[in-house]
Symmetry: C4
Subunit: 498 residues, 4 copies
């Protein structure tokens, strides 16, 4: 006759070394079976030492237990009186519910993370991160444009191996996803930009430090891994001395490998959420004091006159007079680092950039996250415009993109179109706001996992193997610029110069 166990005795066997479960009133030792379970050992270990019948029954064919276990694995029966009574799930006490953000691993995607961050951070931080110009048409379009690209999964390809590693500017990186230069990280979380750096270190991901970071570059790179890669973003100041001093300082930081010159925002866009957000709880205006200050302003600073949001304040002092002819040589003289131009939005400008090698090593197609000019094209449009009018650009320099990335499939689609790397701005800041360093790690982890799943289902092993054959952009093609191209006149100008 079978032995009868108390539930308490069974409950002790709840480890990989000795794992018992109760099924239909019988006690089984499934320790040896753990490694063979088609559903993995973990799901059994969750129920180790307990009555697993309710979980087990509806998903296993009747009789399958006997087929898979040796007879001696059935140890006996359980004394039903010793089993805990089924209880209504206890209502969590309100303190449990309201205390702090949820565990990061419970956040499954970028929307989850943004939602949690929205609750966590101050109104001002939310407004600064969330805002985009005018009606946020470009911001939305940045994301939607990826959704209109259809993937072309291939079958019967071994997808055991899959690797996100890539090389940017000749440097090996863990993934083609980098953190875009986004200002004011400490608004969202005290860990700030250094916290983002710490998260990037875990993934071998690149980070571009904002000119308007809330920490100094030195503080941000302090704990970097030996081969961790940073870029530094410059907004050239009207007072060039300040920019030159800053460049001299950056040149000394060996972790910073390149300079990003931002071009898509020579004047600030109109970010209404930011402007409204910044006045929440603000003290009353001080007209007498500001009037005096205003009267001293010249034309350029008058551009920025409106009290504005955080975004507009950061723009004060930024030089709107940059040109290919003057600014690029000025910059190239003051640093030996490779120069990346950020904010190109037409094939014409991408083409001009490609005529400025070797100083210019790369370009970032970007509409500034929809924060500069509303109804500006998403980076995907510009990628496709370059492919259509002057694909040779891709051979001459590296093309990166940012804006609208919310899924690993978005990352993969950009790479298929010829991008070498994909930047995330808001997702990193929302990650920081949601959970500090762990939040940024979760952000990167999710995007990396999703990107790898996507590559596997496309039958692709490395990012270099991704190409236009993996995507259907038919719907988008009907939106790409078809008007007069400035290429011919550009070629004439530059031919004349050479």
């Amino acid at each position: 006759m079978a032995k009868v166990f108390d539930a308490a005795e069974v409950a002790k066997h709840n480890t990989p070394d000795s794992c018992w479960v109760i099924l239909y009133g019988k006690v089984y030792d499934v320790t040896d079976f753990l490694s063979e379970h088609p559903g993995g050992s973990k799901i059994i270990l969750k129920l180790a030492g307990k009555d697993a019948t309710e979980e087990y029954d509806p998903i296993h064919p009747p009789g399958i237990l006997e087929e898979n276990l040796k007879p001696e694995a059935m140890l006996g029966t359980v004394n039903p009186d010793t089993l805990p009574k089924a209880q209504a799930e206890p209502v969590p006490s309100s303190s449990e519910v309201t205390e702090g953000p949820p565990p990061m691993e419970s956040l499954l995607n970028m929307d989850d993370i943004e939602q949690v961050a929205t609750k966590n951070v101050s109104k001002k931080a939310w407004a600064y991160y969330y805002s985009a110009s005018d009606d946020k048409i470009s911001k939305r379009f940045n994301t939607e444009v990826y959704r209109s690209i259809i993937l072309r999964p291939r079958v019967f390809i071994d997808c055991t191996k899959c690797d996100l590693e890539t090389k940017l500017l000749g440097r090996r990186l863990g993934m083609p996803i980098y953190v875009s230069p986004a200002a004011m990280a400490r608004l969202g979380h005290p860990a700030g930009e250094a916290g983002i750096a710490e998260a990037c270190r875990s993934f071998g991901a690149m980070q571009i430090i904002s000119n308007n970071a809330s920490m100094t570059p030195e503080q941000i790179v302090k704990d970097a891994a030996p081969n961790q890669v940073f870029g530094w973003q410059i907004y050239v100041q009207i007072d060039r001395k300040k920019s030159e001093a800053m460049l001299a300082r950056i040149n000394k930081l060996k972790q910073i490998k390149f300079i990003v010159l931002t071009l898509d925002a020579p004047v600030p866009g109109k970010r209404e959420d930011d402007e409204r957000g910044n006045t929440v709880g603000a003290s009353a205006p001080v007209p007498s004091a500001t009037a005096a200050a205003d009267s001293a302003e010249d034309e350029t600073s008058r551009i920025n006159r409106s009290s504005g949001g955080v975004g507009k304040q950061l723009f004060a002092g930024t030089d709107p007079s940059l040109t290919w002819k003057e600014t690029l040589p000025w910059l190239a003289e003051r640093t030996n680092l490779p120069i990346i131009l950020k904010g190109l939005q037409t094939h014409e400008d991408a083409y001009i950039a490609s005529l400025h090698t070797p100083q210019v090593k790369g370009i970032i197609l970007s509409n500034h996250g929809g924060r500069a000019l509303d109804t500006a094209p998403p980076a995907v449009h510009t990628l496709m415009e370059i492919r259509k009018y002057c694909p040779e650009v891709f051979d001459r320099l590296e093309v990166w993109v940012d804006g609208g990335i919310r899924r690993g499939t978005d990352v993969v689609k950009a790479l298929c179109l010829g991008a070498k790397a994909v930047g995330i701005g808001r997702p990193a800041l929302w990650g920081l706001g949601a959970g500090g360093v762990e939040g940024v790690k979760r952000t990167l982890q999710i995007l990396a996992d999703e990107s790898k799943t996507c590559m596997r289902l496309l039958g692709v092993e490395t990012v270099d193997d991704l190409g236009p054959q993996h995507i259907n952009t038919r719907l988008l093609e009907q939106q790409i610029y078809n008007g007069p191209s400035g290429l011919e006149s550009i070629r004439n100008v530059f031919r004349a110069k050479l």
Copy 2:
């Protein structure tokens, strides 16, 4: 003088053999008229023995009664005092309202059925059935794509006869609609996959048994009709011995007529509803126990590391390394059954499959119900891609499709585009969840009725007569892949091999 009847007397005549009704206070014997009533006899029989005036009056021309009945049919008048008083409709008691699902015949379409099932089944079952990958874009698109196809009804064609019968793999079937391999039917209803089989038997419909069924294949086919057709779906396991043992077992089941090799999900998609649904009410994680298990996992199993939902658990052990070169011969050696490849999503792969006849007898165009890769193309896209690039595929093997079918018009549209059969996954499971065997029957009945109505209104008698002339796909054509085709290089590879 006319005879006066009590209402109770009239009420006795409520059968086809003696059918009286009261109209405008008079009593008529309409027994002989039953078969002549243009509205059918049933509608009269519903009112047999009662005062039908309120129902009759607004839809019949005045005087029509006298025109149609013989004078002697007017038997007399009713004593108005004996008629029951009109009453406010009684409010159903709450017990009546909440008790059990509604009668299956009151469910008119797939949405009704899903709605009832959603209420009936456990959270976990709902989450597993409902979920799709990422943002469920492909899942929605699967259905919407059918709505953008416009039908072209023809007139003045005798549509008395209309027949859904068809032949698949040389076997006669009652309809071109089959049940796709969907796992875990017992999660939704104890009748499980055997219940689906019972429903299919009534309609001569084919069923493909999932590799992850919650009943054994033997149990599922046990009560099959003599010429009932089953397929069996295989997910090849890393441990090939397991798969080989399973194949050997399947080869012995004479009701199983073919093997479906699933290719569209070598790694699991990210089904967030499922992942969330599965943690509802779940016990706390057991990190100490799982940590040990994790540490032993290799690269492949790490793919599946996340605790995940039901879907991810089922994937454990599945081999992601399948290839045309190795896997297909391995399978062909182990079974004499025809092989169907499931999950093709490009014309290239369909073409390659067509080069692997005679082992491969058919392909299923499928994006796994939107559960594998989000923004993957719906089967309709792939059908149209094949028509555009390599229509010869349709001659070489049978092309089946699944995903998104919610109406008989959807079934017919897929057939017009060249599909030989159309699979339903979720609708069968929702049917099971809504009403067990009767629910699945209702599902199949609705789709069959709708399909026949559609064919009749198109002026088509048999499914073989359906063709592209019956549909307008103009809007869709603008979405079909137009990029570089891999066909040329495929031909080169295979020419070299031969």
Copy 3:
């Protein structure tokens, strides 16, 4: 010194013969000015005898009063104490609010009328009128398709004159809008189909009487005007004797000028609202009685088996076996009236019809108000298909359309595309439901007014002058069928026959 009047004295002068108003405390006699007022006399008469200052002031330039009136028109001042005190608008008592439908002239468009009718009529009537097949995609599309056509208004054209008069089948009519054959008008209002006829008489509008009218044809045409035009719609019955008897009866009614043979619904569509609506408050099913009846049904009647809604009941007995070859000659032998074929939805069928002149005098492009086959094309699609493939059809017979008309602009657009007349089904029934005969008149009045305004703004005087140059159908062109045309084989068949 100016005379001082009591308000009561002023109040007496409130007619076109003696019209005084108070403005800024002064009393003016504006009787002579009435006919000169640029805003019309009516607006002044509304304020006659009262203080008009509040209405007058914000819309008239200061000083304009003195400019326009002779000095003697200023009669004096008003004694301010005699003016009524401004009062809060009295809250209407609940009885006023809930009693009956609003005055028809307060209903401005088809939506208003449908809304009022929806409140007025029984659930059953609403369900029968409102319902369409499956997901009502074609029903919605019928209306939306008109909205995607852009009008091309011309300027500097004298549009004083504008005339809706037209000729159909050689008969002069007041407007190109007719009432489509819609069954069961008395479900919505006791005035029934005769009420619709009465409304049509006021406008010289044509009416097609449904085979399933809730009044006899004789009752409907009884009070017709001498040159009022009716058509009669036939659903051919399986029992041809019944149809032949009916035709004989129709042939005798001199007001009925043509026969409409409905072809788009050989079997009933699936109108779920109707099926659900019909069971509201229905008595319990009587399975014992109906079972016996069902068992006697043959294949054809089984098509209609479901208990169904009003729509399905009406279908019982309808013959689904009609053909060009048999039915048309049968019909032509039994009537000398012109035959109109209703429900054509492809250019092929329109073309075949055009080969059957002179018996066939016209065709109605219709998808049966979206009630037969869901995702069938709207009449506008078929119009454009004919224009594209076989425009000669327009020369051979009259092309009418119905479905989705909600605005006068819709009427005009259909005429621009080549339709000779435009039918309304639901709008007439909603009109009847909203206000009986007056409601139908309001419906016709609104559509006529809107149509004329549209024609005037296009610079067009008569309906014959409307053409494709008045509309931009660019968006629609991208949706029109582009697949294999059946024209060639049709021509071969008919050439062989001749």
Copy 4:
């Protein structure tokens, strides 16, 4: 040892001449630093005399304070007991909340302004301004069409200078944005059309005075600046004498530089909101009085018979019989001012206008704000139609547009397509309703600021430099009329005439 200050002492230093702030418990004199602050002086002055730590900390890198201030700027520490306690923000008393419209500078865009105006103005005014014809499809489309145009920002272009100045009809103006002729301004605000004129004066903006203004032209132009530009809009009256008298009066007003002849509304559109709005609170109809008046009406006035809204009343007396042949010479004989034709909506009419130089100096592409014919094309469509069929029109006369402008980007897009000026109707009226003269100024300021930001980000300095290369209209091109053009027959007619 550092000096200790009371907070009250620090609070005194809150001006640009002596500006102290408290940071991390220390007191700093930042007077000298004000002009160097990268974020501008204003943001510091807002916090002058106060504890700025909470605002300062999260957006400044730690240590940056010490880097930027001289050591002596640190004056000492603050006595923490003297700092005001942090308080919950006081709830504004209800009187503060409900009193009057918000300050105009808090309104950031046209939607904000419309929202405030909607609350401020009477139901009748709202209904008149807001309404458009039928289903308001053209009204919505007018705005949406701009959103579907994608901008093409260029980089590395000095955008310090940016100028909205332009020339219209040879006259210099401050901006290419003008106020369209909109009637009844005093309905919305007592400042009326003269208030709009006052606002326009501040910006050098042009104003077109409506024929139906609620002030006389003399009153409106009374306080005009010396070179302020006005146009006057004429609706030709059936009684030509009235129009001739009015023209004679206008010819005498030297501020009025041109005549606008409105052509897009020979009969009134159906503005249902206006018709409903106008009956709100209206007195009961006076049928006896109006019946008499109606009976005297002729065909033309019967067009306008419906009691209608404000819009319809204004139409009474307007002549619907205008023609190129009669009306234009009549007008040219009665004024020497340049004539602008308003309301052209086809390339044909634009082309005919271009054959009527030199009397006709310009045309306004307009669908009357969607108020005349619903589903009429937006001005952008007509612009593109002219570019496609007869671009020479742009050389022969000035092309202005109106309708749907809500953003500076909309203004710029219209200019890129060839428009010389852009009119705003509702935005000016909403501005007036929201805040009188200040509201209109705010409207113009916002649009001017947004337009300049847009031009800067496109890399364009003057409005003349804007062109089709700055926009991507690919999506729109697929909507532009493609049907039969009337150009050939127009050329034949005019060739014959010359």
